[in-house]
C-alpha cells in the first residue's frame, strides 16, 4: 500500500472538515424549529435511544439543540469572519499603498483594537448594537480583523519592492490597478487561510459572549447559552447537559483549525514535495 504523504493527509483533513461542517450547518438549519420546542412531559431525561444527548429542564432535545447551536455558531462565524477578513484585506492594502499618513492612521487603529482585550470590546459593541444576532456579528466582525490586516499590510509592503510592481509603477499604472491586478492574486492564499483560521476565534468568541449573557437571547439554541445553563444543573448530576455540547464545540473548532492548517500546507509553495 502506498504511504499517505503529508499532502494527501492535508487533503483528507480538509475534506473531512468541509463535509462535517457543511452537514452540521445544513442539518442544524433544517431542525432549527424543533430546537426551540419545549415538552415538559420528557424533561430531565439522561441520554437514551430517542434523545442521544438527553433532554433539559424544559424537555428540549439536547441533540437537536446542540446541532442547531453549532449550525448557528458556524453561520455567525462565517458571516463575521467574512466581513472581518474583507475589512482586513481592504485596510491592509490601503495602509501599504496610500502613503505615510493613511498608514499611520490604520496602524494606530490596529494597535488600538489589539490593545483592548477582545472579549471586552466584543461585549461593548454587542451591547451597543442591542445584543442578539446582529450584536454578535457586528461585535465579532469589528474585533477580529487586526492581525490579518497587519499581515496583509506587511505582505503588500514587501510586494511593493518586487520588480514587476516597480516596473508597473514606472509604466504609470495607477496604484489601485497595481493593487488589484498585481498584488491581490498574490495575497489570495494568505487571505483565504487567514479567513478560515478566523472561524474558530469567531465561533469561540460568539460562544463566550453568549455564555456571559451579552449575546443571543436565552431561548435560542446557541452553544454558549446551552453551556451557561448547564452549569446550574451540574451540581444535580445532569452531566449530559454540559458534556456533549462542550465536546461538540471543541470538535467543531478543532476541525476548522485543522481544515485551515491543511489549506495552508496545500497552498504553501514548498509543500508539493512533502
Amino acid at each position: 500500500m502506498k504511504r499517505v504523504n503529508g499532502r494527501m493527509a492535508a487533503v483528507l483533513w480538509l475534506g473531512i472538515a468541509v463535509v462535517f461542517l457543511t452537514a452540521v450547518t445544513l442539518f442544524g438549519w433544517r431542525v432549527a424549529e424543533s430546537a426551540l420546542m419545549t415538552d415538559f412531559s420528557r424533561k430531565n431525561l439522561p441520554p437514551n435511544g430517542a434523545y442521544f444527548f438527553g433532554t433539559d429542564w424544559m424537555g428540549r432535545d439536547m441533540f437537536v439543540r446542540t446541532v442547531t447551536g453549532l449550525s448557528m455558531s458556524i453561520r455567525i462565524g462565517l458571516l463575521s469572519a467574512g466581513v472581518s477578513s474583507v475589512l482586513a484585506l481592504f485596510l491592509g492594502i490601503l495602509a501599504a499603498i496610500m502613503g505615510k499618513t493613511v498608514d499611520s492612521v490604520i496602524t494606530w487603529m490596529i494597535d488600538l483594537v489589539m490593545g483592548i482585550p477582545h472579549i471586552l470590546l466584543l461585549i461593548l459593541i454587542s451591547y451597543a448594537c442591542g445584543k442578539g444576532f446582529r450584536g454578535v456579528v457586528v461585535g465579532v466582525a469589528l474585533t477580529h480583523w487586526t492581525s490579518l490586516a497587519r499581515l496583509i499590510r506587511g505582505e503588500v509592503l514587501q510586494l511593493k519592492e518586487a520588480l514587476y510592481v516597480r516596473t508597473a509603477q514606472k509604466l504609470g499604472v495607477s496604484r489601485w490597478e497595481i493593487a488589484w491586478k498585481h498584488m491581490l492574486p498574490h495575497l489570495f492564499p494568505q487571505f483565504l487561510v487567514g479567513l478560515i483560521l478566523m472561524f474558530p476565534h469567531a465561533i469561540l468568541h460568539e460562544a463566550s459572549i453568549t455564555f456571559l449573557g451579552f449575546g443571543l437571547s436565552p431561548e435560542q439554541p446557541a452553544i454558549g447559552i446551552i453551556l451557561s445553563e448547564s452549569m446550574k444543573y451540574l451540581a444535580m448530576g445532569r452531566w449530559w447537559l454540559a458534556l456533549f455540547p462542550g465536546l461538540f464545540l471543541v470538535f467543531t473548532v478543532s476541525l476548522f483549525d485543522m481544515g485551515g492548517e491543511s489549506l495552508r500546507k496545500l497552498l504553501a509553495p514548498g509543500s508539493t514535495h512533502r
Partner: protein
C-alpha cells in the same frame, strides 16, 4: 498566538461561572467549629444583599421586596393574615376626613446606643424618607409633626386609607446618629444589631440585649449570599442551616435536611395590552390588535391550565393565581376561574378568530400571533413562558418566546405580553397595576376603566381599613364591571411560586406569613422566634 487566544477564551466562561463558589469554600459565618444552640446560618441569593445598605430611606425592608427591617423598629407590622398590628405604635387614629393620622408610640424604647426613641425620631425618619427615598412614594404625606414625646401626627396631602401598610415598611432611624455612613453602620431599636458586613459574602446579626419586646431566641444570625447552585452545595456540605432553593432542585434530597415550602403571593402573570396597535411619540409600538379584543383575553384566561403549569414548571410547588393579591384581605374571590378549553375555543370563535390551517387561528387573513417576553436571567419565568406558549398553541394562538433585559422590557410590554412577577403586602399594588395614569392608560400595560379607577380612589379615601378592603374588592369586580374574567381581564395571573428552602432537620422555623414577591429576606422576618430541637 492562536493557541493562547483559544485558551484565554475558554477560561473566561469558566472563571466567570465559578466566581461565586469561592464564597463557600471559606469558613462561612462564625469561627466556632460547633454551632452554638442559639445561632443560625442562612443562605440567600446574591441579589438579596442590600446594595445601598441598611438605610430604610434607600430600600432596606421597603420597595419591591418588602420585609421586616430587623435592625430597626416600625410603627406597625403586618400580621400573618396580612392585617395590621402594632410594633412601636400603641394607638392609631384617623380623622374623619382621612387627612390626619395620629399615632402614639411606646415610651420604653431605646436605640442600641442607649438614647431613647421619641416622636422626634419618627418625624425625622418620615421626612427623610419623603425627601430621599428612591423606593417609597410618600407624595401623599404632607408632613409629620411631633405633638409631644410620644405622639406623632401625620398630615396628608390626600386621604390614604392604607397608610398603616406604608408605616409597616419604614424602619425608624435615630435623628442623633443619622449620617452619610448610616447605611453601613445602622443603629436602630429592633430585635437585632448588625455586627459585621463582609460585602459580597455575609452579614452577621446579634440579638439586641435591650429589645423592648420578647427576647430573641436566636442570638446570632449569619446571612450568606450565594448563587442557587452554591447554596445547594453548601447545604450538602452541611455549612448552612437554611438555604434558599428553587423548584428545579426540589427532586433532590440532602441528608439531614428537609425541603420547606412556604406559600406566597409571589405571583407570575402576563399582561395583555388592552388597546389597538399604534405607536407612541417615540415610535415605540403600543397596544396589540389580538389582545385588544376582550373575548380573546377571556379565552386565554380560561384556556390556560394552571395546575398543569404548576406540575410541569414548579414540580408542584406553587398555587394557582387568579389575581395579583390572592389570599390577601383585599382579594375578591370572584376572580377564580376553572380551566375550560372548550369555552376558550368558543370565545375565540365568537371573536371571529377561526381555526385555520396548521392549527393556528386566523381572522380576515391575519394569523393569531403573540410574542411572550420574559426577563432573560430568570429560568423559571422562561419555563413559564415556554409552557404558556405550548398552551396557547393548543388554543390556536401562535406564540413565540423571547428573553429581554429589564432595560427594554417595560417599553416592549406595552405592546406584547411580558412574564411579570408581583405580590406585595399592600393593596397599593392593585392601584399601581390597574389604575389609569394621567396619560390615559395604566402604567405597565395599556388599560383603562373609569369605574375601576373610581372604586380604587374611593378605597384610598376611606377612613377605615375594612371599608377600604371592600372597595378594593369592588374594584376587582362589583357584579357588573371590573378586571376579572367577566370584566376586562387585562392581566392573566398564572401561579404563586412557593418559596423553597433546605432546612436542617433540627431547625424549627417559625410559622411564616404569606411571603411577598422576592425570594429573600422574608424568611427571616421572625428569625428571633426560630428554635433548635
Amino acid at each position: 498566538m492562536r493557541n493562547i487566544l483559544l485558551a484565554a477564551v475558554l477560561t473566561i466562561p469558566l472563571s466567570a461561572g465559578c466566581g461565586n463558589r469561592e464564597v463557600q469554600t471559606e469558613e462561612p459565618g462564625t469561627k466556632e467549629s460547633v454551632q452554638p444552640e442559639d445561632s443560625v446560618i442562612v443562605a440567600m441569593g446574591t441579589t438579596s444583599e442590600p446594595e445601598s445598605g441598611f438605610d430604610p430611606a434607600y430600600g432596606w425592608g421597603a420597595g419591591e421586596h418588602v420585609h421586616e427591617p430587623l435592625i430597626q423598629s416600625t410603627l406597625t407590622v403586618t400580621t400573618t393574615d396580612l392585617t395590621i398590628a402594632y410594633d412601636l405604635a400603641t394607638d392609631m387614629q384617623v380623622s374623619d376626613d382621612g387627612m390626619t393620622w395620629t399615632v402614639t408610640i411606646r415610651d420604653d424604647v431605646k436605640f442600641t446606643d442607649g438614647e431613647a426613641l421619641t416622636s422626634e425620631d419618627v418625624v425625622f425618619t418620615y421626612h427623610t424618607v419623603k425627601e430621599n427615598s428612591t423606593v417609597n412614594d410618600f407624595t401623599m404625606l404632607k408632613e409629620a409633626v411631633a405633638i409631644d414625646e410620644k405622639t406623632v401626627e401625620f398630615r396628608m396631602e390626600k386621604p390614604y386609607s392604607i397608610w398603616p401598610y406604608s408605616m409597616a415598611v419604614v424602619g425608624i432611624v435615630p435623628e442623633h446618629a443619622y449620617g452619610p455612613d448610616y447605611a453601613e453602620k445602622p443603629i436602630g431599636s429592633g430585635r437585632y444589631i448588625m455586627k459585621q458586613w463582609d460585602k459580597g459574602q455575609q452579614i452577621i446579626f446579634e440579638a439586641n440585649p435591650d429589645y423592648y419586646g420578647d427576647e430573641p431566641k436566636m442570638k446570632r444570625v449569619t446571612v450568606l449570599f450565594m448563587d442557587e447552585d452554591a447554596a445547594y452545595a453548601a447545604a450538602m456540605a452541611g455549612q448552612v442551616d437554611l438555604a434558599y432553593t428553587s423548584a428545579s432542585y426540589s427532586d433532590q434530597t440532602i441528608d439531614g435536611y428537609q425541603l420547606l415550602a412556604y406559600e406566597t403571593v409571589d405571583n407570575r402573570g402576563i399582561n395583555l395590552p388592552a388597546a389597538p396597535a399604534s405607536s407612541d411619540s417615540d415610535g415605540n409600538p403600543i397596544g396589540n390588535d389580538l389582545t385588544n379584543d376582550v373575548l380573546v383575553r377571556r379565552a386565554i384566561n380560561i384556556g390556560i391550565d394552571r395546575e398543569e403549569m404548576i406540575a410541569n414548571v414548579l414540580n408542584g410547588y406553587g398555587t394557582a393565581a387568579y389575581s395579583v393579591c390572592d389570599k390577601m384581605p383585599w382579594y375578591n374571590d370572584a376572580a377564580q376561574v376553572s380551566y375550560d378549553p372548550e369555552g376558550a375555543a368558543a370565545l375565540l370563535d365568537e371573536a371571529g378568530w377561526k381555526m385555520g390551517p396548521a392549527g393556528i387561528r386566523e381572522r380576515d387573513g391575519v394569523r393569531a400571533e403573540l410574542t411572550i417576553l420574559y426577563s432573560s436571567g430568570d429560568s423559571v419565568r422562561q419555563a413559564l413562558a415556554a409552557d404558556t406558549q405550548n398552551q396557547l398553541k393548543e388554543l390556536g394562538i401562535d406564540a413565540v418566546i423571547e428573553g429581554v433585559g429589564w432595560d427594554t422590557a417595560y417599553t416592549r410590554a406595552l405592546s406584547q405580553p411580558l412574564m411579570w412577577g408581583w405580590g406585595a403586602h399592600t393593596p397599593m399594588e392593585l392601584y399601581n397595576i390597574y389604575h389609569t395614569l394621567d396619560g390615559g392608560t395604566a402604567e405597565y400595560s395599556p388599560y383603562s376603566n373609569p369605574e375601576v379607577d373610581k372604586y380604587m380612589d374611593a378605597a384610598l379615601a376611606a377612613t377605615d381599613l375594612h371599608t377600604s378592603y371592600d372597595l378594593w374588592k369592588k374594584a376587582q369586580w362589583d357584579g357588573e364591571t371590573g378586571f376579572i374574567q367577566d370584566g376586562d381581564i387585562p392581566w392573566i395571573w398564572l401561579c404563586n411560586i412557593d418559596h423553597l428552602y433546605w432546612a436542617n432537620e433540627n431547625l424549627k422555623v417559625a410559622d411564616q406569613k404569606l411571603h411577598p414577591h422576592g425570594h429573600g429576606w422574608s424568611i427571616v422576618n421572625n428569625v428571633d422566634q426560630w428554635e433548635w430541637n
